[in-house]
Subunit: 135 residues, 3 copies
Amino acid sequence: MGEVLKIRTTKHTSIVNITHQVAEVVKKSGIKEGICVVYTPHTTACVFVNEGADPDVVRDFVHTLEKLIPWNDPNYTHMEGNSAAHIRSAIIGNSRVIPVIDGQLALGTWESIFLADFDGPRERRVLVFVIGEKQ
Amino acid sequence: MGEVLKIRTTKHTSIVNITHQVAEVVKKSGIKEGICVVYTPHTTACVFVNEGADPDVVRDFVHTLEKLIPWNDPNYTHMEGNSAAHIRSAIIGNSRVIPVIDGQLALGTWESIFLADFDGPRERRVLVFVIGEKQ
Amino acid sequence: MGEVLKIRTTKHTSIVNITHQVAEVVKKSGIKEGICVVYTPHTTACVFVNEGADPDVVRDFVHTLEKLIPWNDPNYTHMEGNSAAHIRSAIIGNSRVIPVIDGQLALGTWESIFLADFDGPRERRVLVFVIGEKQ
């Protein structure tokens, strides 16, 4: 059972906490034990799980990505000029998988699910897909 | 239901678009709603999803990996001399998970599935594994 | 079917081979064909798959992470001072997915499953979750 979230990002690099929306889809699915795939079908965005409490964590993540995989690099050849976004997405990955136990996402205390848009602002889609047993 | 693809790579670093072969396995499986795991059982290769239309995207990805995790580093200790390939594989990951909806991979318009061999040329295996409902 | 492993790490950066414990959970589950999700619910740790035979591979992995995402960076803003651990976890990922075939993890010859703790020593949890057919 799947549902597509539509997320409007507002900046060139946007990190959006989508935990609440993903949890809603899991709840609606009625699945008690299974797995939830959070999947973004874009090549310049990614999905990851990390701390959602302190926004400085996300800020340091963005700082480090810009340092490692800078937006501008004279060696990039892709004409659209957004190679950095593609490379970040390919390395980090366009999905995360989270177990569903007792009808809930098995997230740790500090864990949130994020969509990262590296070439916004745009409307981005995130497919939340749940499989398992309804019992 | 699973099938093993055998991919002959031709260069030391080879990025091979395997989308078509993965889609064939999904079709053969008869599964209408579920998930597809694309898994390479090698420690110097990885699987990722990104743009398949412009080959420059993959070229820039390879350039950046060589810059960040260079083949030669005097501090590497692994005797086989291929630490860079192991590290790239460990970070990027040896698998990706893609939802299957209406009997098809839920890939975005620009998304392709790639096998990256960082220590070729070799024959590499990719396990395509599909679970879900046939309805 | 899931089980929580408790892993006591002993150093600030600890890479622990947990393959044997994961395989035990798969065996106990009785599942013959399916997938195993290895998931750590922490934001300063990660799960990855790579070579377990030569400990130098893991050493070179740790060396490279410290070079790319150093523990100290004057630009980090997160007050707890462990941004590097969060960033490594977010990029590498907090889980891996492994197919289960004939009741066994479909790991390659050289593959092991690792928990990486980037901000230890601590007691870390790893959720091993298996879904599929018992046949």
